[in-house]
């Protein structure tokens, strides 16, 4: 078939105005201070230089936004998105992608380059040392590369959050949602856990705990050291442990039932927070092809299954050899886990059988089979007798030999959490769009997605026959949903991957899309003939 070439639209290379230039200059200066620190330049009073650097970065972003939006009337601000090198996979986009990817590789695997523990007696030098004053101020100890990363992450979400709110100054849904992710990142992910670390002493110690960061997004939530720390930290620790479990089984399903997975993915989550603020200029780069959707379906569910498997393996391992320490024995744990999964599957198969296509069922049965088989294996043998040499899976970065359960955990930590969510997920923002991880890999999004698809009041409603198939909604869907395919059929959008960012509704030029929570009745409503035509014909063709 002939290839439809995009017309030779070169467009107007978008030039920056004075405020934008000042913003870029200021932001780059802030960044330059960080680079100097990496290079080991002695900066004197680090607290001062850190403040200067972070204020310059944040200030630069905000001044840039003033230049971009202050003299514009409220409305959609997507002019030239596909002409800009930075946002249309041009040279600047690729350079940014490579720089970000490089940053993540250093952060995850070569933190010593950043100066972590490189000074005398394990003190920091370089970039990490620059963050020491803030770390002492908040938690009373020296910075780690993760503290440095967390600080930058939070500053960027705040500054780009302000930019985003400005861009959508006419849209209160976008503004409130952004204020929410800014709050949760600053308070729950950054300040509170660091302050709580201050409570730790020789006799009392809580693990680093971001309450909103649940299993399985927090893949180490139930590792032995962490569970032990919680149990040993008396009532407070127990409270947090039980809260963590309640978040998974009660709070999050309930909120997803009421509002869809957006309550988490685009209102609370830190990964989502970064994607929605820093990543906003890249949302249109996600692939809308049917093939991408097919890839997404098996990939995200495979990651979910894998995270269930290795978490079970890790927990049953320590329940097995430390059985007298916990209330649960290994076999009770495996049996209850297996029973729970079978019951959930049976309930879905019974009540929702009409809503699921056969390939979804097949996928679910295979996943359940693998999971139960693995549980049986865990129950009858000590899988840690199976040894794995990690160098085969880590490009030689890791040469240790692991028992199977630790091996799976390490593989997940390396392959999924570091490479997928960090290096690819964020590093490739300018190439693959801002939600690759959330769409293809996040096991939390996987679970919430299943809940959203099957038991939620949330949907995106289409407005009768008003769609003109323009494609703005699909283009700007960061999750790669072909929103138009539904809208032009007058069909509600009920997709497990939808994070409810609301941008499809915002960019629609005809007021066709609305995010709503309403009754489960009639939530999925395919129409062949849209509202506006002959009533008899509509009844005749749309009858199911």
């Amino acid at each position: 078939m002939a290839v439809e070439r995009n017309m030779a639209l070169t467009g107007q290379p978008v030039s920056l105005n004075t405020s934008q230039k000042i913003g870029v200059l200021l932001g780059m200066t802030g960044l330059f201070i960080l680079v100097l620190a990496v290079l080991g330049v002695q900066l004197g009073v680090t607290a001062l230089w850190l403040t200067l650097s972070l204020s310059a970065i944040a200030g630069g972003i905000i001044i840039f936004s003033i230049g971009a939006y202050s003299d514009k009337l409220p409305g959609i601000k997507n002019d030239g998105v596909w002409f800009k090198s930075s946002s249309a996979r041009g040279v600047i986009g690729w350079m940014a992608g490579i720089a970000l990817t490089g940053f993540y590789i250093i952060l995850y695997f070569y933190a010593e380059v950043l100066g972590l523990g490189q000074g005398a007696d394990g003190t920091n030098t370089g970039l990490v040392a620059l963050f020491d004053p803030l770390s002492y101020f908040l938690k009373g100890s020296q910075a780690s590369q993760w503290f440095m990363y967390g600080t930058l992450y939070t500053v960027l979400i705040l500054a780009f959050g302000i930019k985003f709110m400005w861009k959508y100054k006419h849209n209160r849904y976008e503004q409130l949602r952004t204020a929410s992710v800014m709050f949760f990142q600053t308070a729950f992910a950054f300040v509170l856990p660091e302050l709580m670390a201050r409570l730790n002493s020789d006799t009392f110690s809580l693990p680093y705990n971001d309450i909103k960061l649940m299993w399985p997004l927090n893949y180490y939530a139930f590792e032995q050291w962490r569970v032990d720390q919680f149990i040993n930290a008396q009532n407070i620790g127990l409270f947090f442990l039980i809260l963590g479990i309640a978040m998974i089984f009660i709070v999050s399903p309930f909120l997803t039932y009421k509002y869809g997975k957006r309550w988490y993915c685009s209102w609370v989550c830190g990964c989502g927070g970064l994607a929605e603020t820093v990543g906003d200029p890249y949302r249109h780069l996600s692939s809308k092809k049917m093939s991408a959707w097919k890839l997404e379906r098996w990939m995200i569910n495979a990651v979910l299954v894998f995270s269930i498997l290795f978490t079970t393996a890790v927990i049953s391992t320590y329940l097995g050899y430390d059985s007298e320490k916990y209330w649960f024995t290994k076999n009770i744990f495996l049996l209850s886990g297996g029973t729970f999964l079978v019951l959930v599957f049976a309930a879905i198969a019974y009540w929702k059988r009409n809503q699921l296509k056969s390939d979804a069922f097949k996928g679910a049965i295979v996943s359940l089979g693998i999971t139960l088989g693995f549980f049986v294996l865990l129950s009858f043998m000590d899988i840690n007798n199976i040894k794995i040499n990690a160098s085969y899976f880590s490009f030689g970065l890791n040469t240790n030999e692991y028992g199977l359960s630790d091996g799976m955990r390490s593989f997940y930590g390396f392959g999924i959490s570091s490479i997928f969510s960090g290096v690819v997920g964020t590093g490739f923002y300018p190439i693959l769009g801002n939600r690759v991880w959330c769409r293809m890999g996040c096991p939390m999004a996987g679970i919430l997605g299943i809940q959203q698809r099957l038991f939620s009041k949330f949907r995106i409603t289409t407005n009768g026959g008003q769609c003109i198939s323009c494609g703005n909604c699909s283009t700007y869907c960061e999750q790669g949903i072909d929103v138009r395919a539904y809208a032009q059929k007058g069909e509600n959008i009920v997709r497990s991957s939808c994070v409810g960012c609301g941008i499809c509704s915002a960019v629609c030029p005809r007021g066709v899309l609305k995010l709503e929570n309403a009754s489960l009745e009639g939530r999925i409503n395919p129409n062949e003939i849209l509202l506006g035509n002959d009533v008899d014909l509509m009844n005749y063709v749309n009858k199911k």
Binding site: M1, E4, C470
Partner: protein
């Protein structure tokens, strides 16, 4: 196997093809001279503005047509021989059909202005117009000013497009207020102000006299009829409406008026030839509708209907309650039912405008019965379904006002104005004993 040939791959032709495929295994061929694949014409503007790439305007991926066994043929039909059931292409090639659907859409109007066929003078309708615009107005350095002639929906879109690249725009509108043949005065006046806020040089009550050429036959200036003023420019946009694109059917024996004449079954005078969409002209008006409706939605509805007829379920074209939508720069517009720019003698209009000058509604009521006739809404999204139901139920305007909140379709957390509207409405009503 019966061969259905459709001329035109716009919304009408493609909708007809999709529905025929759903209902039957007939052989289907869609012919277009414009593009290989169906795209959304209404989205062309966003390609120039850099919101989308051209491929994003295509609602179906390229494999869709093969998978659904719909043949696509690129070519320009120059003649229809209805006696031999055959199409003749410009290339001399022929194609025979069993049933033919004409869905060729529109072309921009030209009213015999001197210079209307010069280079850099263009409408905004076809993909080729966009390519032309890209050539003559790639940026503000090449195009120092553009003049747009004709104040309708396409004119305002063209103005928005050019402004997205910072190109100065002069907008000549024949009427003394923007689109006021369709919109009531309050709305039209609000849009005048909004257009000016976007730094568009809006000239109301001005007509084009002629377009002046440079030495190379390219437009270099326009002359205004009323004032004789000469405005230098590099591009002239002619956006004074559209008319059916049917010149290839001249002398074909198919009955033509301004468009292809059809009955309520969308049949032409030739028994196996149908016409749908912008190019079809009803013998008699349907309700208050015009005989030719160059609207996305009506094209789609005709496609849905003709597919039934062709597949053996003979159906009249019966559009439901009138609705339409548009966007004027930043202001969205929707309409349900009938609100006239110049109120009919039976029509009472209530107008409410928000103080920020970007939101307003106008509601039309029957003077004698108090029946709700229609609503125009600007800057506030409303539910199609709810208004369609209220119109069917013949609700009174008083009822609609009381229940307006049910019809709100704005995103969550948006401010609501139903109370303000109701208060204003009640104040305006005479108090009856």
């Amino acid at each position: 196997m019966e061969h259905i040939v459709i001329i035109g791959n716009g919304i009408s032709g493609v909708t007809a093809a999709r529905h025929i495929r759903k209902l039957s295994d007939k052989k289907i061929t869609i012919i277009s001279a414009e593009t290989d694949f169906f795209f959304s014409r209404t989205a062309l503007m966003y390609v120039y503005m850099g919101h989308m790439k051209f491929e994003h305007t295509q609602p179906y991926e390229n494999w869709f047509w093969d998978k659904n066994n719909i043949e696509l043929k690129k070519g320009y039909v120059s003649k229809v021989n209805h006696k031999s059931n055959e199409l003749v292409f410009e290339s001399g090639e022929t194609l025979s059909y069993d049933k033919l659907i004409i869905a060729t859409g529109s072309k921009p109007n030209k009213f015999g202005w001197p210079g209307q066929d010069l280079e850099a003078v263009m409408g905004l309708y076809h993909k080729q117009d966009l390519e032309n615009l890209e050539k003559y107005a790639p940026n503000k350095e090449v195009c120092k000013r553009a003049v747009i002639v004709g104040g309708g929906l396409i004119g305002i879109e063209l103005a928005e497009m050019l402004r997205s690249r910072d190109i100065p725009v002069t907008f000549l509108v024949r009427e003394d207020s923007f689109w006021n043949a369709v919109l009531p005065p309050g709305e039209s006046a609000m849009l005048n102000r909004h257009i000016k806020n976007h730094h568009i040089d809006l000239r109301l009550g001005m007509n084009l006299k002629e377009i002046i050429a440079d030495d190379n036959g390219k437009a270099k200036a326009v002359v205004i009829q009323e004032t004789g003023e000469v405005i230098d420019c590099d591009v002239v946009g002619l956006t004074a409406g559209v008319s059916p694109s049917i010149s290839f059917l001249k002398d074909s024996g198919i009955e033509l008026g301004r468009g292809v004449k059809v009955n309520r079954f969308l049949e032409t005078n030739i028994s196996n030839i149908y016409a749908i969409g912008d190019c079809a002209e009803q013998h008699e008006n349907i309700g208050l509708r015009r005989p030719i409706e160059a609207v996305w939605y009506t094209g789609r509805m005709m496609g849905e209907t003709v597919a039934q007829t062709i597949c053996g379920n003979k159906l009249e074209y019966k559009p439901g309650h009138w609705f339409n939508s548009a966007k004027f720069l930043d202001i969205e517009y929707q309409t349900y039912g009938w609100v006239f720019g110049k109120p009919q003698e039976y029509e009472d209009q209530f107008h409410w405008k928000h103080e920020d000058d970007t939101k307003c509604i106008t509601i039309s009521t029957h003077k004698e019965t108090g029946k709700f006739l229609g609503i125009n809404t600007f800057g506030i999204r409303m539910r199609h379904e709810v208004f369609d139901r209220w119109l069917t139920e013949e609700r009174s305007t008083a009822y609609v006002m009381e229940h307006l909140k049910e019809a709100n379709f704005d995103p969550e957390f948006y401010k609501h104005f139903e109370k303000n509207i109701l208060t204003a409405f009640q104040k305006q009503q005479p108090i009856n004993a």
